[in-house]
């Protein structure tokens, strides 16, 4: 593949996976400095994506494709337009900084290599999500992000909370992923293409499809779970159990935005309907308010940020859901700004935690003089988050107010946005002011500025917030407007300004936000107590609900298996044979196809002889006094059957039957000696009668089934084929063996795999010792 151009993007997609393979090796030799070397890979990918920006700004889109499973319309195809390129830039760019930061944060950690490896796996998956054109490719990468995030959240796997958070994130996002798969496939069939780029240009096909509602529900389930929308928001704050680099990367800038990406991506194909413009803004708005309110409650800096992330995601969903050009422009700018400031703030909090030994709001203070660079980063990022000029966060807020105002002349969405933004302002102020200003508080560790690895990322992103704010005109023209156009599915290029050029409603709303935000900030401690009190009164949340659902499933499974699996072997056998009898007789009774009873007179003498052996065997088994004797006598049956096979020209079958019969007698006898069985039968005569009739019924049923099969006209096509080609194609004269190893060899692979697994399972079962001897004895005596 070429090293430049569109096709080279495949290398950029492959790069993180290569880095993932290299990380453990490099981390072993270079320790934390490995991240300098490894950061080159995402940096190169970043440059590759950057090279598309001018073309995309000029209105071009790029596509490249590799064949994967062409039979099922599954291709490995990528699509680069305004939306995907911005996401790819954020993922690779912030990824570069996070790689460095991880080196600093986990300096000296013995599993640093493993951590970086997971991180790169995630990066590769995330790039795949945003670049994939084929919807199956998209889905595969989507699931890969869920799995890698599971690994990252559970990185500190010795802690119970980590494991729980990891499982919870996987269940919620993985479950949503399944819904998404169904939705995407449905959309693919309805839209007539599995390529996203074609679906987007297919006009109203999906909106007018009778399955629109189904597609819509399935797709937003995928998006809402991934992007932590109410009522699935609970997994995101729990995911803060992950090391801070993970939170900074996955849970602010990338993975949680995958849901928003999906909604934005599908907006031209699914958006604009009443359903879309009602459901999305309502859930987004609720998430925005819930996120900020729960954020106020927290004193852990990282959790404050986590809840504001939930809120921001809600805001983005709300804006995307309006399908209004200006609101979407607002969403786009906000998304961009949010990735910068939230990534930076997470890194700041991580650094504070790393250096001061705590990230509790009430136990840090006055750190600015000790950690000036981190402090500056915190202030700049928080200013952007609060939406103050001259940072890009301000532009975002202006445009989004403009948008919500435009949609409904002020209505509900503006109210949501105003309240949410005001609370976000207060929380931003808290995050920047509390740790760094005010009186010094004694922290567990004596804080000082960390290594360059620790502050490089946060200060870069924070400064970028200023730079992009300053050059908003060209940033808007080159990056943000093309993205908006892609989300809208129509060209959009409105000039952006850092400072409003006229007195718009947006400016007044902005002022109201600041005023309200300052008030909230001043009364934050009181509000926190009030929110805590309310939450305590409610006493239930989706997080608890998740536990209850999981517990419920476990309890249900327990009850079910206790009901079905009583542990009594006799009952299992009876159930099995009753089912066999039903399967045998019900079709014969329903169709009336009973076999004709004829052809019994013409048996040869030796055939009667074998039948007699079998009959004697049966009699001997039934009258045997001891179980072991019965098992050995059962072997007589088997040998009689083997003889029949031999007589009717199936030497292979007969051979196998002999061996199987011998071995099963041996193994059964061994099992018998191991079980604590009474040597004789202890069933009551009623039970014996029942079992006897069941046995006769099954035996007669099988005989009749075989007879009706034999009485069917024989179709020789397959056997003729095998006879004809066994020698010529497969070089073998023994057709049975040729079928086993060649013609139907694939079946054999499956079968030997089953044999292998059975062997393993039996071994494991034998090694299990019964928990209480008395219990198992009483069961076995039956």
């Amino acid at each position: 593949m070429p090293l430049f151009g569109v096709e080279a993007t495949f290398w950029a997609l492959l790069g993180p996976f290569v880095a993932a393979a290299l990380s453990p090796i490099l981390a072993k030799t270079l320790k934390h400095n490995a991240s300098w070397l490894l950061a080159i890979i995402p940096a190169l990918a970043f440059l590759q994506f950057l090279s598309f920006v001018p073309g995309i700004a000029a209105g071009q889109t790029y596509r490249a494709s590799l064949e994967w499973v062409p039979t099922f319309n599954v291709n490995f195809s990528i699509y680069l337009d305004g939306l995907s390129v911005v996401f790819a830039l954020l993922i690779s760019g912030i990824g570069t900084l996070i790689t460095l930061y991880s080196g600093g944060y986990l300096k000296g950690h013995q599993n640093l290599g493993q951590f970086l490896s997971y991180l790169f796996l995630f990066m590769g998956a995330m790039l795949g999500v945003v670049l994939a054109d084929n919807i199956i490719t998209l889905f595969v990468y989507w699931e890969l992000t869920s799995i890698t995030s599971f690994l990252l959240i559970g990185f500190d796997h010795l802690r119970r909370a980590s494991r729980r958070a990891a499982v919870q994130a996987l269940v919620v996002t993985g479950g949503g992923g399944l819904a998404l798969m169904a939705g995407l496939i449905l959309a693919g069939y309805q839209g007539g293409s599995f390529e996203m780029s074609e679906l987007l240009n297919s006009g109203d096909i999906l909106r007018e499809s009778p399955y629109y509602t189904a597609i819509f529900i399935l797709v937003i389930l995928g998006a809402f779970t991934k992007s932590a929308q109410f009522p699935f928001h609970f997994w995101l704050p729990n995911a803060m159990e992950a090391p801070t680099p993970v939170s900074a990367y996955l849970h602010s800038a990338t993975m949680v935005k995958a849901g928003v990406y999906l909604l934005m991506r599908m907006q031209p194909a699914l958006g604009g309907t009443e359903l879309w413009m009602t459901v999305l803004p309502i859930f987004g708005g609720i998430t925005l308010l819930i996120g900020t309110i729960l954020g106020i409650r927290q004193t852990d800096l990282k959790l404050v940020l986590a809840y504001t992330t939930v809120a921001s995601l809600g805001l983005l969903v709300m804006l995307t859901g309006t399908s209004d050009p200006i609101a979407i422009q607002g969403a786009v700018i906000y998304l961009f700004a949010h990735s910068l400031f939230k990534g930076s703030l997470f890194m700041v909090v991580g650094t504070v935690d790393h250096e001061a030994g705590t990230r509790d709001l009430n136990r840090v203070g006055g750190l600015f003089s000790l950690m000036p660079i981190t402090g500056i980063a915190a202030v700049l990022a928080a200013l952007s988050m609060a939406g103050l000029p001259p940072l890009i966060g301000f532009v975002a807020k202006e445009v989004l107010y403009d948008g919500t105002w435009h949609v409904m002349n002020g209505g509900l969405w503006t109210g949501f946005a105003l309240l949410g933004n005001a609370m976000m302002f207060a929380l931003a102020a808290t995050v920047a002011i509390k740790p760094f200003f005010g009186s010094k508080v004694k922290t567990p560790k004596v804080a000082h500025e960390g290594s360059i690895l620790l502050y490089a990322g946060s200060i870069t992103l924070a400064v970028l917030g200023v730079v992009t704010g300053g050059f908003i005109v060209s940033v808007g023209h080159q990056i943000l407007s093309p993205m908006t156009s892609a989300v809208l599915g129509a060209p959009f290029d409105e000039e952006l300004h850092l400072f409003p050029t006229y007195l718009s409603p947006a400016l007044y709303l902005s002022m109201a936000t600041v005023a309200l935000g300052i008030i909230i900030f001043m009364y934050l401690d009181k509000l926190r107590l009030i929110v805590a009190e309310i939450l305590r009164t409610i006493g239930w949340g989706p997080d608890k609900g998740f536990d209850q659902v999981v517990e419920g499933i476990v309890r249900f499974a327990g009850t079910l298996s206790n009901t079905i699996q009583t542990g009594s072997m006799v009952r299992y056998m009876r159930a099995t044979f009753v089912v066999i009898a039903l399967v045998l007789y019900v079709p014969m009774i329903l169709t009336g196809n009973w076999p004709k009873l004829e052809g019994f007179g013409s048996l040869y003498v030796y055939e009667w002889f074998i039948a007699a052996i079998a009959a004697i065997g049966v009699y001997a088994v039934v009258t045997a006094r001891y179980r072991v004797t019965a098992i050995v006598l059962l072997g007589i049956q088997g040998f009689a059957v083997a003889l029949i096979f031999l007589l009717f020209g199936a030497p292979d079958l007969s051979f196998t039957q002999f061996m199987v019969e011998t071995l099963s007698v041996v193994i059964l006898a061994l099992v018998m000696t191991r079980l604590n069985l009474k040597p004789t039968d202890a069933r009551s005569s009623r039970a014996k009668l029942f079992d006897l009739s069941l046995a006769v019924l099954c035996g007669a049923g099988i005989s009749m089934l075989l007879m009706s099969i034999v009485q069917l006209p024989f179709d020789p096509t397959i056997s003729e084929f095998f006879t004809q080609y066994s020698r010529t194609i497969a070089h073998g004269r023994n057709i049975v063996n040729v079928i086993l190893v060649d013609f139907r060899g694939f079946d054999t692979i499956g079968e030997i795999a089953v044999v292998m697994v059975t062997g393993l399972a039996v071994l494991a079962l034998i090694r299990v010792r019964p928990k209480s001897e008395g219990n198992s004895k009483s069961e076995n005596n039956r």
Binding site: M659, L670, R733, N734, V741, G759, I766
Partner: protein
């Protein structure tokens, strides 16, 4: 059951059966036989040896853990499916190599290795079951 005669004969008997199992395995492509039957014969050989001389003797004789033997058989069978891919044929297409050997021609083929894989899986898995049952019975 564990008479002196049996204990004396069992090693020779199982050795013969092992030999026979390999014979049955190899001739399977043209005459009755094959990996599955061969494997069962070999397991019977181990069973006899085990009944006569004890499980630990069998384990020593097998050298590797039975499950490892089964696993290597499965791997061998799966590997034997792959070579055709390198000739751009569908997986599992049989490949034949005719080697002249001491005046006769020996046909080596991927189905042969596949069958050996089947043999090993059967030997490993079933003798693992039989041995572990026998072990606790002692």
């Amino acid at each position: 059951m564990n008479t002196l005669i049996f204990r004396t004969v069992a090693p020779y008997l199982s050795a013969l059966m092992m030999l026979f199992s390999v014979f049955v395995l190899l001739r399977g492509h043209n005459e009755p036989g094959g990996g599955f039957i061969g494997g069962l014969i070999a397991v019977s050989a181990f069973a006899i040896y085990g009944i006569a001389c004890g499980v630990s003797a069998v384990r020593r004789a097998m050298k590797y853990h039975p499950i490892s033997i089964a696993a290597s058989g499965l791997i061998l069978a799966v590997l034997s499916v792959l070579p055709s891919i390198f000739y751009r044929q569908p997986a599992m297409t049989s490949q034949w190599l005719e080697l002249p050997f001491l005046g006769t021609v020996v046909d080596l083929s991927t189905p042969l290795f596949f069958d050996i894989g089947v043999y090993l899986v059967v030997v490993g898995a079933i003798s693992s079951i039989a041995l572990s049952l026998e072990e606790r019975a002692d």
